[in-house]
Amino acid sequence: MSAPFYVSPEQLMKDRAEFARKGIARGRSVVVLRYDDGILLLAENPSATLHKIAEIYDRIAFAAVGKYNEFETLRQAGVRYADLRGFSYDRADVTARGLTNAYAQTLASVFTTESKPFEVELVVAEIGEHPSSDRLFRLSYDGSVADENEHVAIGGQAEEIGKRLSGLRTAGKPLAEVLAIGHTVLGTGRDEDVDLDDLEAAVLERSASSHRTFRRLQPDDLRALLAAPTTDEATSGEGTGGDEATTASGADTEARGDEGQ
């Protein structure tokens, strides 16, 4: 008969965090960027049917990395939460803040009480009537929440992409330009850009005619947008980010180990 070993709470949390981080780091990244007429969500995803980006409600979208079955469960819970709330009250009463709180509580309670934490990172994005009320929330596996302003990256290369994007203001730029930036940074840590057929993209559009503002961009839409003449700003954004990325790429795994707790 062996008595269970004593494990200090610190060690327990650390082990769980490391476990979750390892799972997430294996996956490919997702970036969410604001542009002048809404929010662009971009993911590298070879599957056309197992989505990482999805519609939650009229003005709210969801992006995730990590284990598919886990974030799919969370996505469906979010849709149910939003639809039930919108039906009981009004469509205007469904907000990203409420949804993010529910996600945070769920992630936190699973992290501390279940035998295995969720290996996921999420972004909840919401467009407002005006650009000033756009919201980007980033949620970690342990339920911690960060409120981002311009853009947010999650997944394996998140930190590196974040470095390349840091200081860049995308909220005033047009969609084609922001798409070019997003496409470039998703290729971080590799020799070539992500193939457009492997790019999952969607937008929340402020100028949408229907109450549902979420729209998926097909590879043809992406080609048309990227073929459109872009101004020099996009390339200058790449230029400044590119230098940092090359210096940061080697230190990536170590940097990730220090992050978080």
């Binding site: 999805a54 939650i56 469906q76 819970a77 939460y81």
Partner: protein, 272 residues
């Protein structure tokens, strides 16, 4: 401590909003218990009714139109009620019967389609939407038996197709596909009579709106519960067309112009 989502949100496997809501929050669904009905004898007086809805196929899809009147007995409850709504981006639903329940059923049906599309990542087929509506009606059969009947007319275009389909229903949830045109509500007999003479295959959008306005004017002419175009308040019937591009409402001012033309031509004809 708030622990986030209720476990039912994470473990539910249904893609139906109605089924989900019934299991976690039955209070939010439209429901009138038999006790409530028994406590209010003669409930039929005092509950607004909606009336005539018509739908027919056009060259590239379907058109659905409805008058704007709701009645309580011999009184007019509303001059501006809207009984034809977009169900989603490729279909429309119009409802005759007890107005309060009908509007709530439309809201629930719209959400049902949207919920399915979001959960599954793909919209229901047109036939699937019609079947879903039929089962929602069946769930409300108890109310129908008490006299609070709701009868919808559903029409739409299968994504990627260039032709529409029309489905009618009865209070027991029976679903019937209509061939060319159909009408429901108290003025439906007169409207259908007009459609029999005026409808032809391959109607253009403009021709379709004209036919719809004529049929509704005929219904309003002979049925006191159906409202005609109201030139004083500038209220026109709701006319929605569905084609491969989606659902579009014909602007009220445009419908009023057609109505003016129809009324003028009839006034000439009536003169001795």
């Amino acid at each position: 401590m708030n622990t986030g989502f209720d476990p039912a949100f994470l473990s539910a496997t249904t893609n139906s909003f109605t089924d989900f809501a019934r299991s976690v929050a039955p209070d939010v669904l439209p429901h009138v218990s038999s006790e409530q009905l028994a406590a209010a004898p003669g409930h039929r007086a005092g509950v607004p009714d909606g009336t005539t809805i018509i739908a027919f196929k056009t060259a590239h899809g379907v058109l659905m139109a409805g008058d704007r009147r709701a009645t309580v007995g011999n009184l007019i409850a509303s001059h501006i009620i809207e009984k034809v709504h977009a169900a989603d981006s490729a279909s429309v639903i119009g409802i005759a019967g007890t107005a309060g329940l009908a509007l709530e059923l439309i809201r629930l049906f719209q959400l049902e389609l949207e919920h399915y599309e979001k959960i599954e990542g793909t919209p229901l087929s047109l036939e699937g939407k019609a079947n879903r509506l039929a089962s929602m009606l069946r769930a409300g059969l108890g109310l129908a038996m008490q006299g609070l009947a709701v009868v919808p007319l559903f029409a739409g275009v299968e994504p990627g197709r260039d032709s529409g389909r029309i489905f009618s229903f009865d209070v027991t949830g029976g679903k019937y596909e209509e061939v060319n045109f159909h009408s429901i509500g108290s003025g439906s007999g007169f409207a259908r009579g007009a459609l029999k003479k005026l409808w032809s295959p391959g109607l253009s959008e403009a021709g379709g709106v004209r036919v719809a306005v004529e049929a509704l004017i005929d219904a309003a002419d002979d049925d006191s519960a159906t409202g005609g175009p109201d030139f004083v308040r500038q209220v026109a019937p709701v006319v929605r067309v569905v084609d491969a591009d989606g659902v579009r409402r014909i602007p009220e001012s445009e419908v009023l112009q057609y109505a003016t033309a129809v009324v003028a031509s009839r006034a000439e004809g009536d003169r001795p």
